[in-house]
């Protein structure tokens, strides 16, 4: 057993188990705590630039990763024409930068605005630092090891599927450069931290709002009928 196996073969399962089990526990027994505390009331301007950039940047970049995971062949076909490859890479890199800058703004804001600091917990800082590292390592990877959308389907897609199908092949990552390994481990770390932090709010995205009637009326007494 070497470090590579521990970090990329075993730790992912610890992280995923925690993420599922603790999140479920929290939803059932601590529903009050399942949300991300907003600090918009305390400070607005810097939040606007930070939060919008971080959230949209991350959401779109993650969707890109998901696409590569689900449709590796489609991605390779898309990339067969150089212009399309450049377009995709530039877009991805731009979004990554956007998220990186947004996260930095949020972290700086949390540290320097007294009101926001007063409403922060240690976990709030930890989450921001982890996301900052994730965005940073992602952007560095994209810069130093060009055309991620080309090699991701060949290396990362098989690795991620091997983990998800319970047949881990950590050796796939053995020879990769430091920043890529760092980026992957950082992701598993975020998964592990997910249920213990404000990150759980990801599961509360209120898509039901699109379908429910405007008004909600509750009969206290008819609940049990």
């Amino acid at each position: 057993m070497n470090w590579n196996t521990i970090l990329f073969g075993i730790f992912p399962y610890i992280a995923l188990t925690l993420a599922v089990a603790v999140t479920a526990y929290r939803m059932v027994y601590r529903p009050f705590s399942v949300s991300a505390q907003s600090s918009q009331l305390l400070e607005q301007k810097r939040l606007f630039f930070g939060s919008t950039a971080m959230h949209w940047g991350l959401v779109l970049v993650l969707l890109g990763h998901l696409l590569a995971l689900l449709l590796p062949k489609g991605l390779l076909l898309w990339n067969a024409v150089p212009v399309r490859l450049y377009l995709l890479e530039i877009t991805g890199l731009g979004l990554g930068f956007w998220a990186l800058v947004g996260t930095y703004v949020l972290l700086a804001r949390r540290i320097s605005v007294a009101r926001v600091r007063a409403a922060s917990t240690g976990m709030d800082y930890l989450v921001l630092v982890l996301i900052l590292l994730s965005a940073l390592s992602g952007v560095l990877t994209a810069l130093f090891y060009r055309y991620g959308s080309f090699w991701f389907p060949a290396v990362m897609t098989p690795y991620l599927w091997s983990v998800l199908t319970l047949q881990p092949r950590p050796e796939l990552l053995l020879d990769l450069p430091f920043w890529i390994k760092f980026h992957v481990f950082n992701f598993w770390l975020l998964v592990a931290v997910f249920p213990f932090s404000r990150l759980v709010h990801v599961i509360t995205v209120p898509l039901g709002y699109l379908l429910r009637p405007w008004q909600i009326v509750v009969w206290v007494r008819k609940l049990a009928r």
Partner: protein, 511 residues
């Protein structure tokens, strides 16, 4: 017809002395907690003024309430899709500075300061950061500052008033103001409920109280912006929205809400109204000037046998129907037409009602007199008080508190609704003044009464309920039957035996 019952409060503004006892009662009971320091579920504003949070009526900025356009009723804040796209930043959310930064004083300095030449002082510190600060605003910072250029002059309700009238409002020695106590209006068409992406806010069908399910609340903060009255607050420490709960735990045990119970001027009334839930959409979708009329139209007559039968079919029990029949709110709002909802143009169908205040003297009369005497400065009307009342009655449209201003507050600018209410109140005043001070009622007073559309009996009833009501007459609370509520959950005996056991999770935010 879908009959439902509603607990409503009525504020008799002619009696409000602006003492803030209600605010303090509420604060002590509900919002004396970390994260809630800045919240005033009940607050009292000086009007004309900007209120709390500052300028809350400016919906161009805060996007509260509903908009009626091309036959559609839409939230001013967002469409459903827009709502989801604004989760990460809600542009219409007021900031803490629109309320005020809560502060206290470092009293320990008084005891721990080293010995010196000067008296030690307790410096103000922020209740959020704990750091020293200079307070510059508060929930009633504009208290009694009628006429001030900073507060009164910026009141959005002054729109549509003559510049001359506006100037008179702020005249030295002639400043006019009134008080406006406010709680959550527990609307029939609440925009906070509609704006909540998580569906955490709901209206209780039994009594119409609008509540936030704090377990479901995910801190998207849309309700704060969507409420046109700015009566949903965001707790910065727990990350949940909170609002006035109409003291439902008190109501369920037969007590009036703390604000109403503690009211020194006894301006507040509590009672049941029956309404037709089926007709809510049509009531909210009429032109501005007909809004009050249409809202009052869906409030049902609790003596009508058809209504009673329909109410029983909906599960409203005898006790509630009886309470609705004795409801002081029903009398003021429907029978006498003296009370109005606050800002009906927000189209949320607010269910707390206001009796507009009377003004003491007519400013323009004074002015005319002053001009005829060729004098500057204030001239008291040289008339006996009784005749003065008649003068006011005759020239209500020139009342010192402009009817237009009251109309902007209570009837979406429709003065023709406010004038009859003021005339009725004034007629009752004239009648009772003559009766009690002059030993008899003149024909002139009777004529005024007839003109205002009141019979002697009605005038007497209005007088009694306005000035001499007992506690039971002011607060006609229906039986909540907690035992019946418990019955549907579990065996009542088991419930009784278990009460007080178990554990409660403290409302801690997630890490």
């Amino acid at each position: 017809m879908k009959v439902r019952a509603h607990m409503s409060m009525l504020f008799h503004l002619d009696k409000c002395i602006g003492c803030h006892t209600c605010s303090i009662a509420c604060k002590n009971l509900w919002t004396d907690r970390k994260g809630a320091e800045y919240m005033w579920w009940n607050n009292v504003e000086t009007r004309p003024g900007t209120g709390y949070p500052t300028g809350w009526e400016d919906q161009e900025r805060f996007k509260g309430g509903w908009e009626y356009k091309d036959g559609h009723l839409d939230l001013r804040l967002h469409s459903r899709t827009q709502g989801l796209f604004r989760l990460f930043f809600n542009p219409a959310l007021p900031s803490l500075d629109d309320y005020y930064e809560p502060f206290t004083f470092r009293y320990s300095d008084l005891f721990t300061s080293p010995e010196g030449e000067d008296q030690p002082t307790a410096i103000p510190i922020s209740m959020i950061t704990g750091e020293p600060m200079t307070p510059g605003a508060g929930p009633n910072w504009d208290d009694d500052l009628g006429g001030s250029p900073l507060y009164a002059a910026n009141d959005p309700n002054l729109k549509g008033l003559d510049p001359e009238v506006r100037a008179q409002l702020a005249e030295i020695e002639g400043v006019v103001f009134q008080y406006l106590p406010r709680i959550c209006n527990h609307c029939l068409n609440p925009s906070c409920v509609a704006a909540c992406p998580s569906g955490a806010i709901y209206k209780r069908a039994e009594d119409g109280v609008v509540l936030v399910n704090e377990n479901k609340c995910k801190a998207w903060r849309m309700c704060v912006a969507a409420c046109p009255y700015k009566k949903v607050y965001y707790n910065w420490a727990t990350g949940k929205s909170e609002k006035c709960i109409l003291c439902f735990p008190r109501l369920e045990t037969g007590q009036a809400p703390a604000c109403a119970h503690s009211c020194v001027g006894r301006i507040r009334y509590m009672g049941v109204l029956l309404y037709d839930a089926d007709r809510i959409p049509e009531a909210a979708m009429v032109p501005d000037e007909r809004l009050v009329e249409s809202q009052l139209g869906i409030i049902l007559d609790p003596f009508d046998p058809e209504v009673i039968a329909a109410a029983k079919a909906e599960g409203i029990d005898e006790g509630w129907i009886k309470a609705a029949q004795n409801s002081p709110i029903y009398k003021f709002v429907k029978v006498w037409g003296l009370a109005f909802p606050l800002h009906p143009e927000y189209r949320t169908l607010a269910m707390m009602f206001y009796v507009p205040p009377l003004s003491p003297v007519v400013s323009t009369l004074e002015k005319a007199l002053r001009a005829s005497q060729g004098r500057e400065g204030l001239v008291r009307l040289d008339l006996p008080e009784t005749d003065l009342d008649f003068e006011v009655y005759e020239s209500l449209e020139k009342a010192r508190m402009p009817v237009k201003y009251l109309a902007n507050l209570f009837s979406a600018g429709n003065e023709s609704l406010i004038v009859p209410a003021l005339k009725k109140m004034l007629a009752v005043r004239i009648l009772k003044r003559q009766e009690s001070l002059e030993g008899g009622v003149t024909e002139k007073a009777r004529k005024v009464l007839r003109d205002a559309g009141l019979t002697l009996e009605e005038a007497e009833a209005i007088y009694r309920l306005t000035t001499l009501p007992t506690l039971e007459e002011r607060f006609v609370l229906p039986p909540y039957h907690r035992e019946m509520a418990a019955e549907v959950w579990k065996d009542p005996l088991a419930h009784k035996g278990e009460t007080g056991f178990g554990y409660i999770q403290p409302p801690l935010r997630g890490e």
